[in-house]
């Protein structure tokens, strides 16, 4: 982390929750860098070819901030909800960077299929494409129902459980299940075209 004074994020969080977009921006920037670094380090240490465990990252970031006393433990739900949003950005950014690389930036060209060293693993190319398309569909959906988008972020990008989502959004688990089904149907429709 940078050497800036470690401000208490709880206040920012609350304001961001209440719709203060300036607070949201500040919060976003504060956490984005941190999470990005974590994600990079995790990618380095993961076994080759394994997935970026966003769930762990989300939890990890929560802990990190609690440890630094910048978020209170009671705000866990809100924080993780928020971190899931950030995670979405990070993941999408990662994928876009990689696509840029493959188109010849920075890294030496490596043949498409040279066994374990291939950058482009045929099975994940499809996955990455899915992620990008979901991301775009969510942007669209966000114009209609931002709350639903938050739920998808938490579930898909953040890997949070129904209980955790219910806690964060302060709704019942039953509602979470119903809304999740709703979101999936809408996104399935969007991705089918």
């Amino acid at each position: 982390m940078s050497e800036q004074p470690q401000a208490d994020l709880t206040d920012l969080l609350r304001r961001a929750q209440n719709g203060d977009s300036r607070a949201f921006d500040d919060l976003f920037h504060a956490t984005y860098d941190e999470l990005r670094t974590l994600a990079r380090r995790r990618l380095r240490f993961d076994q080759r070819g394994s997935l970026l465990d966003t769930t762990a990252l989300v939890h990890e970031s929560y802990l990190r901030f609690v440890a630094a006393s910048r978020v209170r433990i009671e705000d866990r739900g809100h924080f993780m909800h928020f971190a899931a949003r950030v995670m979405r950005s990070i993941v999408v950014d990662f994928i876009r960077e990689r696509c840029a690389e493959r188109r010849g930036g920075g890294v030496a060209r490596i043949p498409l299929t040279s066994g374990a060293d291939a950058i482009v693993d045929p099975t994940t190319a499809g996955g990455e494409s899915e992620i990008l398309r979901v991301h775009e569909a969510l942007d669209e959906l966000g114009k209609l129902d931002p709350k639903l988008v938050r739920l998808v972020e938490m579930r898909y990008f953040g890997g949070m459980t129904e209980a955790e989502i219910a806690e964060a959004l302060e709704i019942s688990e039953r509602t979470v299940r119903r809304d999740w089904e709703k979101a999936r149907l809408l996104l399935a429709e969007a991705l089918a075209t």
Binding site: L51, D53, E60, E128, L144, G159, E181, E189
Partner: protein, 968 residues
């Protein structure tokens, strides 16, 4: 999208409709759509088309998880700054090359920059996740505990810390080997089980130090090329667990990385862990060893977790399709029980059962079952008349018998006075001048009294019964058991005739008889008597609680004697509580029950921390009852139990300290040349031998023997035992010529007492064999080993048998047999003392390998022997000197003379100080001379050679003769 973007309003409507229809169960949705009211009908087609995907979305688990993003290492490097490259410095270590990566972090081969550890280490760099919530303090705290794990089968944790920029690191012993399951594939069933035993023993050792592994799995158990197990990451899971409250949680906060396949149900549930959790993981490992499969093969993590919590595993014999004996099934299933209380209580218990299977017999790894009778000491103590009465009363009172109290139902003053008169008269008649001019012993006094009673009180009367009971008690406490039995038996018959079968007086006499039987170890009689006695005692418990207390104590005695150790604690616990309530905490019977309870727990094979806790409780209790006086007789009795508890849990150093203290206390209480002192000296000497303090052990056992000889019958068990212990101490000090005649004599005596077959005879002959072999008398050694063995005997110790056979084989030149036996001995080591017994085995093994010319193998063996010895932290002693000499010799033979000098000089210095004229130092001096010569240090070489010759000339061993004849 194929439809137009909605307006806000139409979206709101769609949203409401979706909410409504999705709240319905799937089978009702179609009907609901059919009955849409007209104002919403327009949305019908859209809704249907959305819902049509519902089934598909479920089965595909659409958006269920984030798809993998594959990143090669090059790309990852390009993406961000690297925190680990060869040559980087992490704390005091320099990275050499990466060894691997896992869910928790990466591992590097590294070296210490300042050379403080001269071996390469495995440096574990955990994820950032570890960098939270007080890791620094936790590491400091845990590091001392984890670094205290010194075991040949556990990889050491050397160091742990945080770099300035917050990167945590753990420096572990670097182990080259294959994971447990991979290595096991090349072995047969027995081989795999022996491997498993190594693991279980290491785990048991750590449990003894109160450290739980928490993450036992094949990847954490490496096997070196020569079949040696090393456990990794002991306790590290705890170190890295960043939530103290969720001790071992698997499902949150990044610990999803931990594999659930080997996790126990309580780990899955996130509950606090105990040693049972490790036992469970051992069960999974065992299951896999037996069947090649995991107990719950499931594809997805939630299914696996559910199975661990709820599904019973298939029996291994069903899975593996081979004829696994029923025992192995039972063992595996028991270790895998969902409830911790139903599993093996300790890793040791599990290891014992596996060992049982391997040997085809029941095995009990129990502490030494010889038990302690305080009064025996005083029994043969000669007394003068003047103090006879005091001694007698002390004897009886010390045993918890309150002579003058209402034991007698007819509590008449007259009766009591009559008893008193009689006792006094015994002593008046014990006029020394009438007894062949020598003082009487208390025992003789009582025997005399017994005969007297029959003469003086011909009628069966309450008085006679009382007196017989009294005398019987006294005789019992003096270990005059046949006489005691006859006295008390008479009392019982009298009581039956006088009072009838059901009377409390009769019950009292019968309880006393049961106690005599317990003292005699007459288990058959006890088994018959106790049930009825217990019932009867319970009926009168309100009036005579002490009777039930005594019956329950006898019940515990029986359980222990019959090796039903699990049944031992419950009766005496009840007895103790009853005695506490009714007799009070200071009553000798209560204290006796308290001590017996501690003893029973020790024998029950409970976990070490429980044994020690109970022993401490017993100690505190006894001390409180005696006003803090450490030399109270009952306190000394409890202190003796305490020492044996220390011995049973492998804490020899502490046992020695306590032993020395008891010597002092007993000296004050009974006199410096008294029997209790001698006994304590002997026990402490035995313990000293085990930790390698041979010199003191010899001196102490010599002292003990001297004192004993003045007191007890030279044909008694105690004396034989003491003299044998002394002979063993002499053996340990390499004074074989002195030891052998002692052993010969004691073997004859032991055969007289214990019979010419059985375990005691075996041990004696084997020790003789070892002495004979050391004295170059090979044929006699061989015939001494020819005594038949019975592995089904309770005390049979396979590891010991093999070690002795192997050691003798080395000494008489039969190296092939030696290697086989010694390897077998190594595999069979079990229990808390395994690590202690290993160096001896390895030292002989190394010697055999050297003699066979397998120098490189010898070097490996002896290096490990040295490491194992170092880890035990004992002072220099002959076995260690042997190891050093072997190492030096190996280096000389491998033409690496520089490396040879240091160990040889150490060994040589040891012999010159310990026993300069002992031929055992001859070989050491010889090899030292060779090493000096190879290093060009001629003067030193000549001096050493001269010493060597002087010693070797007197050595009877063939190998030493060869050295003498060899040319430089």
């Amino acid at each position: 999208m194929e439809h137009q973007p909605e307006s806000d309003e139409s979206w709101a409507q769609l949203n409401r409709m979706l909410d409504a229809v999705l709240s319905l169960p799937p089978e009702q949705r179609s009907a609901w759509l059919d009955t849409l009211p007209p104002e919403h009908a327009a949305l019908g087609p859209r809704l249907r088309s959305l819902l049509a995907r519902s089934a598909q979305v479920e089965t595909d688990d659409f958006l269920g998880t984030l798809p993998p993003i594959s990143v090669s290492s090059e790309a990852a490097t390009a993406l961000g700054p690297s925190t680990g490259r060869a040559g980087d410095t992490i704390g005091p270590y320099r990275l050499d090359r990466e060894l691997g990566r896992g869910g928790m972090g990466s591992v590097w081969l590294a070296e210490r920059v300042d050379g403080l550890i001269d071996r390469p280490v495995a440096l574990k760099l955990p994820h950032a996740i570890a960098n939270f919530l007080g890791l620094a303090e936790r590491m400091a705290r845990e590091r001392t505990i984890l670094a205290a794990l010194n075991h040949p089968h556990i990889a050491r944790l050397y160091d742990a810390g945080l770099t300035d920029d917050g990167q945590p690191y753990l420096a572990l012993e670097y182990v080259e080997g294959q994971p447990f399951d991979v290595y096991g594939k090349s072995l047969d069933l027995h081989g795999r089980l022996r491997l498993f035993l190594q693991v279980a023993n290491a785990v048991a050792y750590a449990h003894g130090k109160l450290i739980i592994h928490r993450d036992l799995k094949p990847a954490n158990i490496l096997v070196t090329p020569d079949g040696y197990v090393r456990l990794l990451d002991f306790g590290i899971a705890k170190l890295l667990d960043n939530d103290a409250a969720r001790d071992g949680a698997l499902t949150e906060f990044g610990a999803r990385a931990l594999t659930p396949e080997y996790a126990s149900p309580e780990q899955i549930r996130g509950e606090p862990l105990t040693v049972s959790s490790d036992v469970y993981s051992l069960g999974v490992l065992l299951y896999e060893l037996l069947t090649g499969r995991l107990p719950y093969p499931r594809k997805s993590r939630p299914e696996l977790e559910h199975a661990i919590l709820n599904t019973e595993p298939q029996r291994p014999s069903d899975v593996a399709g081979r004829a696994l004996r029923g025992d192995l099934d039972t063992i595996a299933i028991k270790a895998l029980k969902k409830q911790p209380e139903e599993r093996y209580a300790t890793a040791n218990a599990l290891a014992d059962d596996v060992l049982r299977y391997l040997e085809g017999r029941p095995v009990l790894a129990r502490p030494d079952s010889t038990r302690y009778r305080l009064m025996k000491f005083v029994g043969r103590h000669k007394i003068g008349v003047a103090s006879a009465a005091a001694v007698l009363i002390a004897i009886l009172a010390g045993a918890g018998v309150s002579i003058w109290q209402a034991r007698v139902a007819i509590a008449e003053k007259e009766h009591a006075q009559a008893v008193e008169r009689f006792v006094v008269s015994i002593f008046q008649e014990a006029d020394p001048y009438r007894q062949a001019g020598r003082p009487l012993t208390a025992a003789e006094l009582l025997r005399h009294a017994e005969r007297d009673i029959s003469a003086r009180f011909a009628d069966r009367s309450a008085l006679r019964i009382s007196l017989l009971g009294l005398v019987g008690t006294g005789l019992m406490n003096l270990d005059e058991l046949p006489a005691a039995e006859s006295s008390v038996q008479q009392a019982v018959s009298d009581a039956v005739l006088l009072y009838g079968q059901e009377h409390t007086e009769t019950l009292r006499a019968r309880v006393l008889l049961a106690e005599v039987h317990a003292a005699q170890r007459d288990n058959d009689s006890l088994r018959k008597e106790l049930p009825t006695l217990e019932t009867a005692a319970r009926e009168v418990v309100a009036q005579e609680p002490e009777l039930l207390v005594r019956v329950l104590k006898a019940k515990t005695d029986l359980a222990i004697e019959e090796a039903r150790f699990e049944d031992g604690a419950a009766p005496v616990r009840e007895a103790f509580e009853l005695a506490l309530r009714t007799l009070g905490p200071k009553h000798p019977t209560t204290v006796g029950a308290s001590t017996l309870l501690a003893e029973a727990v020790m024998f029950s094979g409970a976990q070490p921390e429980l044994i020690m806790k109970e022993s401490q409780r017993g100690l505190d209790f006894a001390l409180a009852a005696y006003g803090g006086r450490e030399d109270g007789p009952r306190v000394i009795q409890m202190r003796d139990v305490h020492i044996r508890a220390l011995e049973a849990t492998g804490r020899y150093d502490d046992a020695i300290v306590e032993g020395d203290k008891i010597i002092a206390s007993a000296g004050e209480a009974f006199g410096p040349t008294s029997m209790p002192v001698a006994s304590a000296m002997m026990n402490t000497a035995r313990m000293r031998m085990r930790v390698g303090d041979v010199a003191t052990a010899v001196a102490q056992s010599e002292q003990a023997l001297e004192i004993l000889g003045a007191h007890i019958d030279k044909e008694s068990r105690e004396y034989v035992y003491a003299r044998t212990s002394h002979a063993l101490a002499l053996m340990a000090a390499r004074r074989f010529a002195e030891a052998l005649p002692e052993l010969d004599a004691m073997t004859l005596m032991a055969e007289k007492i214990y019979g010419s077959d059985g375990w005691d005879a075996v041990t004696m002959h084997y020790q003789r064999a070892l002495a004979l072999a050391n004295l170059g008398r090979a044929d006699e050694a061989r015939s001494a080993l020819a005594i038949p063995l019975d592995p089904s005997e309770e005390q049979y110790d396979a590891a010991w048998v093999n070690r002795m056979q192997g050691s003798v084989a080395v000494l008489i030149g039969d190296y092939d047999t030696a290697v086989t036996r010694l390897l077998a001995a190594k595999e069979l080591l079990t229990g808390p003392t395994a690590a202690l017994r290993e160096p001896q085995i390895l030292s002989f093994l190394g010697l055999a390998q050297l003699e066979r010319g397998e120098t490189a193998a010898a070097l490996t063996t002896l290096t490990r022997a040295q490491q194992a010895s170092d880890q035990l932290g004992f002072r220099m002693h002959p076995v260690y000197a042997d190891i050093l000499t072997g190492l030096g010799r190996a280096h000389v033979e491998l033409r690496a003379p520089a490396a040879a000098i240091a160990p040889l000089e150490r060994a040589d210095a040891f012999w010159r100080e310990f026993d300069a004229n002992n031929v055992a130092g001859g070989a050491t001096a010889y090899w030292l001379a060779r090493a000096y010569a190879m290093n060009g240090r001629k003067a030193d070489a000549d001096a050493a050679q001269a010493r060597a010759r002087a010693l070797l000339l007197h050595s009877p061993r063939a190998s030493d003769a060869r050295l003498l004849a060899a040319r430089q």
